[in-house]
């Protein structure tokens, strides 16, 4: 187990390092100097140079990369060019919208998909199965932002159950916050749940053909018992892989969904950053998203080991 974790940890660190180099290099290519952009056309060369110094933009690319990397490691993401506040603070505020939204959506997706997928597997080849497979086939094809718009038409305009957009902030209380995030989370979760249900179904059916299930049935377990006691655990590897992948889809997906519901999350921040050439914000948000994805992949790898003891060796 220790060797497995150590190996995974090293690859986690290397992936992060490689990703940071890519992000930095891409942002480096962008034409235009943030300092002169911020100060306008009439600024003197000295003022621009002084601002470059304070922004940490002077020096060669390698020096700047190391400065940026060192800053991130100590929690200092630099100062936003437009807001003039620490990027860490900006991102931190927005993260409290995007992250709960992604987690909420992932929870919904998993809670919907696993029972539905298991049901389809247990009733495979019958009407229930065909119904579920047909619905998920459509669910996979629905763009989440369009589904979001339909949800708004149904639940905010026709029946005024949920707010059509905006976010009151967690200060307004947990329930109002949750209520504002419900439609966005449902919109994000539906297509993902459809994929996950299909994976769950085929993973379970795959295990049902295995010898150990036949043995369990021979010992007198009903099919349902065999699925619950032996099938589920063995179907978990493909399901976990997809759940892990989905988290990164959901986190990136919040960027689009936030636009539908005017939520003040990372998505809004990144688009503002692009239009205002606030590259340090773009850089930090992208790096944060990539970090989240790599971290989730790492945790999925650890979860494999928990589910499947054979991998710990």
């Amino acid at each position: 187990m220790f060797g497995y974790v150590a190996h995974r940890l090293i690859s986690l660190a290397l992936s992060l390092l490689a990703a940071s180099i890519v992000v930095f290099a891409v942002i480096e290519v962008i034409p235009g100097d943030p300092a002169s952009y911020m100060l306008g056309l009439n600024a003197s060369d000295e003022t621009v140079a002084a601002l470059r110094e304070t922004l940490g933009l002077s020096g060669g690319p390698i020096a700047r990369y190391l400065h940026w990397l060192g800053g991130m490691l100590t929690g200092d993401f630099g100062t936003s060019y437009t807001y003039r506040v620490p990027v860490a603070q900006l991102v931190g505020d927005r993260l409290w919208v995007s992250l709960p939204l992604a987690v909420y959506a992932l929870a919904l997706s998993t809670l919907i998909a696993l029972p539905i997928g298991a049901l389809a597997a247990a009733r495979r080849g019958r009407a229930v199965d065909y119904g579920i497979m047909g619905l998920t086939q459509i669910g996979v094809a629905v763009p989440n932002f369009w589904f979001a718009m339909l949800l708004v038409i149904a639940f905010s305009i026709t029946w005024k159950v949920f707010p059509p957009g905006g976010f009151p902030g967690w200060d307004a209380g947990f329930l109002p916050g949750l209520r504002a995030l419900t439609l966005p989370a449902v919109a994000l979760a539906l297509p993902q749940a459809s994929i996950l249900a299909r994976v769950m179904r085929s993973a379970l059916i795959e295990t049902l053909h295995q010898d150990f299930i036949r043995t369990a049935r021979a010992k007198g377990l009903s099919e349902g018992q065999a699925i619950r006691r032996h099938g589920m655990r063995n179907a978990m590897i493909p399901v976990l892989t997809i759940v892990g992948l989905q988290f990164s889809f959901l986190l990136a997906g919040t960027i689009i969904i936030e636009k539908v519901f005017f939520l003040p999350g990372l998505g809004l921040l990144i688009f503002q950053g692009i239009t205002q050439r606030d590259l340090i914000v773009v850089e930090s948000v992208v790096m944060l998203l990539v970090f989240a994805v790599i971290l989730v992949t790492f945790m999925v790898d650890l979860a494999y080991a928990l589910v499947d003891p054979r991998l710990r060796r």
Binding site: M149, A252, I255, V282
Partner: protein, 274 residues
């Protein structure tokens, strides 16, 4: 003669219909998609405008047809990028299995996978500015590791087979074996994967143009039609429903077609799933 499943036929019908609409839009649309008619804006479906007009008086049917063209072009070229760059990488990695090259290609793939595709698109847009071409680039880059993986995985199982050994004994090098013996044998899988990536590309293009990172006006695109409709869809839900339905039907068609192809090409899979 094999009996074709209903789902597959439905998928082919839907996909062909949209492809036809896109092709026809190259030479003819019911109305000019760049012609604005402010007096006739937001008109209900009727004579002259079978699906009504949008907030600038443009004919919805024509916009949807031209939008199909944008979506299909972006997704198709992105799949092309994935195949042209990804497949040779995957084949090379398989031919030199467990070499430094293999390791390098696979780790590079992992690195791209770590970037959510939307984030790649945003990065590219931040650098190059929003355009249909950059949307193609963003979606295409994400397709490269997908095809590299499929090609490598499938090629690896073939490298141990007798007919490859025979080719090696005959003095063929790894590049020639990959091109002449491996590639034809994995083409099936690549076609199935291509269909899947094509449908994912349609969804990705819609998402990118919805947030303004795809094709720019006046080029019509389904995603931007949805974004434009957002101000009006409280009162004119039709503006939001139609482009969305187009996306769903197109993607559904491609997925059904891809599933059908996979079942037909891989009977083993069919046995375990059904």
């Amino acid at each position: 003669m094999m009996r074709l499943p209903v789902q597959f036929l439905l998928g082919v019908t839907l996909s062909t219909a949209f492809l036809a609409a896109a092709l026809i839009s190259l030479v003819w649309t019911p109305q000019d998609v760049t012609a604005l008619d402010i007096a006739g804006k937001l008109a209900a479906p009727g004579a002259g405008h079978p699906l009504g007009t949008d907030h600038l008086g443009r004919d919805m049917l024509s916009m949807l047809m031209a939008g199909a063209r944008t979506s299909i072009a972006v997704a198709l070229v992105a799949v092309g990028i994935g195949i042209v760059l990804g497949v040779p990488l995957g084949l090379a990695a398989a031919a030199r299995h467990r070499s430094l090259l293999d390791e390098f290609i696979m780790r590079g793939n992992d690195l791209i996978f770590a970037f959510p595709s939307l984030v790649i698109a945003i990065l590219i847009t931040a650098v190059l500015g929003p355009s249909a071409l950059n949307a193609i680039l963003a979606i295409g880059i994400f397709n490269i590791p997908v095809f590299a993986r499929v090609a490598r995985g499938a090629a690896l199982t073939l490298w141990n087979r007798e007919f490859i050994l025979a080719a090696r004994v005959a003095g063929k090098g790894p590049a020639r074996i990959s091109a002449e013996h491996i590639l034809p044998n994995i083409a099936n899988l690549l076609v199935v994967q291509g269909t899947i990536q094509f449908s994912m590309g349609i969804l990705a293009e819609a998402g990118l143009s919805y947030v303004g990172l795809g094709a720019q006006p006046p080029t019509p695109s389904w995603g931007r039609m949805l974004a434009d409709s957002q101000t009006f869809f409280y009162t004119f839900p039709r503006l939001a429903v139609l482009p969305g339905l187009a996306i769903v039907l197109m993607v559904l068609g491609l997925n059904l077609m891809g599933d059908g192809l996979r079942d037909m090409l891989d009977p083993r899979l069919r046995r375990t799933i059904r």
